[in-house]
Amino acid sequence: MRPRSNQPVFWLLFGAGGMLSALVGVALVFMTGIAAPLGLEPRAVMSYGDLHAFTRNWAGKAFVFAVISLFAWHGAHRIYHTLHDLGVPTGFAAKLACYGTALLVTIIAAEALLKIGF
């Protein structure tokens, strides 16, 4: 019997990240990267106080964690499969580089969010 593939797990994370980024990616990029720096929003939405309070709340923490980690898993999986399409050998090294980066992003995000506290 062939060993079971671990790809469904990565595929699930890819799908979840792809869906989340398709739903709210445009709004997030607009708010964090364009509207807030240019002062387009009615009030300073991205102030330290507001965002600190937001990430202290468990729901806010979960949202920020989901966005950062799932976006990373989505991208890692897609890049890994595109490497194959570009003729790059997708051995253990490529897998480690792609999924390892996503895992690292997940761990660092969790650590930073836990440090902010509840």
Partner: protein
């Protein structure tokens, strides 16, 4: 052992041959930008956990003209990702039947894009209301 010279077909630029392949590659390329944005946000959360002064430095970085220009590019890429994601969704999800009839590809794409519009406006309204 004799050297074998197996023919290996070159993979250079295969995706430039056909507009269909080009669209496929454009779709795949969005992933690099999605990861980049995750990294930008990760940097922000790390700075946020380090206190007000460090977070202010991250905000200053976001306000630089290069950063704003890059985020305009990111906005276009994410919009393309949203569109292409719901364009291929009918092929990647299991078939849905409604009242005995299979939900068409156009309907799935349309519902997806509508959901993205509602989620985006909702998130924006929520953030503005909370601020």
């Amino acid at each position: 052992m004799a050297m074998r010279h197996t023919y290996v077909r070159s993979m250079d630029g295969w995706w430039r041959r056909d507009p269909y392949f080009l669209r496929y590659m454009a779709r795949e390329a969005t992933s690099v930008f999605v990861v980049t944005y995750a990294m930008i946000l990760l940097a922000g959360v790390i700075r946020l956990s380090h206190g007000e002064a460090e977070f202010a430095a991250w905000l200053d970085g976001l306000a630089s003209p290069w950063s704003v220009a890059f985020h305009v590019l990111l906005l276009a890429v994410f919009a393309y990702h949203t569109w292409s994601w719901f364009r291929i969704l009918p092929k990647t999800m299991p078939p849905v039947t409604l009242g005995g009839k299979r939900l068409g590809a156009g309907a799935i794409t349309g519902l997806g894009i509508a959901a993205a519009a509602i989620a985006s406006v909702g998130l924006f309204a929520l953030v503005v209301a909370l601020a």
